[in-house]
Symmetry: C2
Subunit: 358 residues, 2 copies
DNA sequence: TTGTAGGCGTTATCAC
DNA sequence: GTGATAACGCCTACAA
């Protein structure tokens, strides 16, 4: 493919072996080679053998670019995520990739860091590669991106989004109920006896920020607690975001006794920051996260969190692409996934409570 | 691309816009469109504007498959790793991908789980896609794979391997000195006063098993300790491998007082298993790992480990590919990366030592 | 400046 | 069974 910005490059020196080479070697026509390669009927056994040997000997592999060009179908999917270094995504991508591999598809991986320009660049790049389908987790404020994406969907290209709120007539959406999850988590803390609960919010441009904040608020309200604005700090999905958020919350005049973090990574960051401040978790402050990444069970204290079937969501994403390829006129739909509360040691009754009890 | 196993699929219903469509819309020839698109000189300003508008309006993006076919150059790289869910690899892949993106390249991601058949399948798939270069971390026992890979290299296709021991005339190798790293780690433990040190080995088929084991042995020998076979347990790079290994070692009649794990993940697994057995780290047993993944600093106790510049190694891998594309006759070379010992709280003097001292 | 011609490698459709 | 022909979309060269 070309990109005007890129350096000019020499092609490899030797030609790869083409179907013509094989045909010549086996002294048959190229369409015979093609037929043998694709196990089509109508070729005599001796010829078949001869061709097979030639294929073997010359290590012939058909040029997929040519095949795809002709077939108008590339057998590739584009996966656009914020960053593969966010431990939530490897499982998801692995799910996609495993499904893709079984169906003979390959995966293009793109990391956007949620930057609008990068998202659009990558989308164009994937379009250039004529990918058969798109799986994207994108910045919700990137309306230009969404416009292009939905145009693709309108033109019957399979598009799967991770948790986008905008519903498109054709694009599928993978979704977990973030509102309910946040509600559950807050409820868990309230039931433990916490009354001052902080929230380190997801990044405002992510798909989950509003839902989790809403669910959180709703739980407090339902159980008669007031939502104190100074307990809601804007945050993000990184360890640093968690450290910052926890540091801020711990510095409040009357600090919360529990914190719901944007995700497990932020929760882990929060714990490490609190340790640095000499605040013990969960004795002095409870911490909870979202995602149940592998590490959640292994940090100290192990994290209370909301588990979601990340790998299966990846698989489902690829399956949805196949499905849309098979019936291009099917309607987009929301695919919901169950989440569950996993209680571990990072949450406990607040100190006040325990002193009362003991 | 085709894979005989895969389902038959209908192509999307609507055609994408081609250069011909744009030419028609702007009432010029297709090569004028091409020239405008690639900012070539010799087009009058009004025409240029008109074409630009048509490109804009029709959302034209050149079909990269056709371009690549013609240019004999796909601007893609294949990345074949055991699994992106191993937290060592996201940083590495990110390094590759960032470099690739800057140069207008895209990345195919393949997870082999170190399974020889999968490795070969993926290699063929990448060949189909006519990737411009390969970055591979493969199972060293997979000689068939290596043969195909080195044939590619011989034919001037850029090949970068992660720590393969086999040196090929053209393939570059990214390497850290695993022998020295293991030596350093063992030395660190010995200097703390440990005399009974266990090793949870990397998987036998990985590139690092022999080197790390050798370095480990060499250190013990140099400092006059005997290498007890019951302290060397075969392991792997997962949390479970670490749990198993630590459980085994802890069950020895005379358990070691320190363990060097295959990597950080195994070390984290070891710590969790030991916690489960009521063995405190580092008080009763010291643990050390390799890689210095993000989590290493955040688990409890924070891990002593060997840091390596994973992201930069990924960047270097892509740069090496570009370099080989530019000068296809250049010789393969080994690119070495520095590692460093990071001492954290998971290693401490053995209990005996401390009781003597105090 | 623009049109015409040829080819990248593969596959499909004929008629032989 | 095979050979000829066309097409996928793009690009380069050469001629008009």
């Amino acid at each position: 493919m070309q990109a005007s910005s890129a350096v000019e490059i020499m092609p490899p020196v030797t030609r790869r072996t083409t179907i013509t080479d094989v045909a010549r070697a086996a002294r048959v026509s190229i369409q015979t080679v093609s037929a043998v390669f694709h196990d089509k009927p109508g070729i005599s056994d001796p010829t078949r053998q001869r061709v097979r040997r030639a294929i073997e000997r010359l290590h012939y592999v058909p040029n997929g670019l040519a095949s795809s060009l002709r077939a108008r179908h590339s057998r590739t999917v584009g996966v656009l995520i914020p960053s593969i270094t966010n431990p939530y995504f490897p499982d998801f991508v692995r799910g996609i990739e495993d499904g893709a591999h079984r169906a003979g598809y390959s995966v293009f991986l793109c990391n956007s860091d949620h930057q609008p320009e990068k998202e659009i660049e990558y989308l164009q790049l994937l379009r250039q590669h004529a990918v058969s389908g798109y799986v994207v987790a994108y910045n919700l404020n990137n309306l230009d991106f969404e416009k292009i994406l939905f145009q693709l969907a309108t033109h019957h290209t399979p598009v799967i989004t991770l948790g986008s709120r905008q519903i498109h007539e054709r694009a599928h959406v993978l979704r977990t109920d973030d509102r309910a999850s946040a509600f559950t988590l807050a409820q868990h803390l309230i039931e433990l006896g916490h009354e001052r609960i902080g929230l380190i919010q997801p990044p405002a441009e992510s798909s989950v920020c509003r839902d989790r904040t809403e669910g959180f608020r709703a739980a407090l309200k339902k159980f008669g607690l007031t939502v104190r604005p100074e307990y809601l700090v804007p945050g993000g999905f990184t360890i640093e975001d968690g450290q910052d958020g926890a540091t801020q919350l711990a510095g409040r005049q009357e600090p919360p006794t529990a914190i719901v973090a944007a995700n497990d990574l932020a929760a882990i960051g929060a714990i490490s920051a609190l340790k640095g401040l000499g605040i013990r978790v969960p004795e002095r402050m409870s911490i909870a996260g979202f995602d149940d990444i592998r590490m959640a069970a292994l940090v100290d204290p192990p994290l209370t969190t909301i588990a979601q079937p990340t790998y299966r969501m990846g698989q489902a994403a690829f399956e949805a692409i196949l499905e849309q390829l098979e019936s291009p006129n099917s309607r987009g739909r929301v695919i919901n996934f169950e989440t569950s509360l996993v209680v571990r040691r990072s949450t406990a009754p607040p100190a006040s409570q325990r002193s009362i009890e003991s």
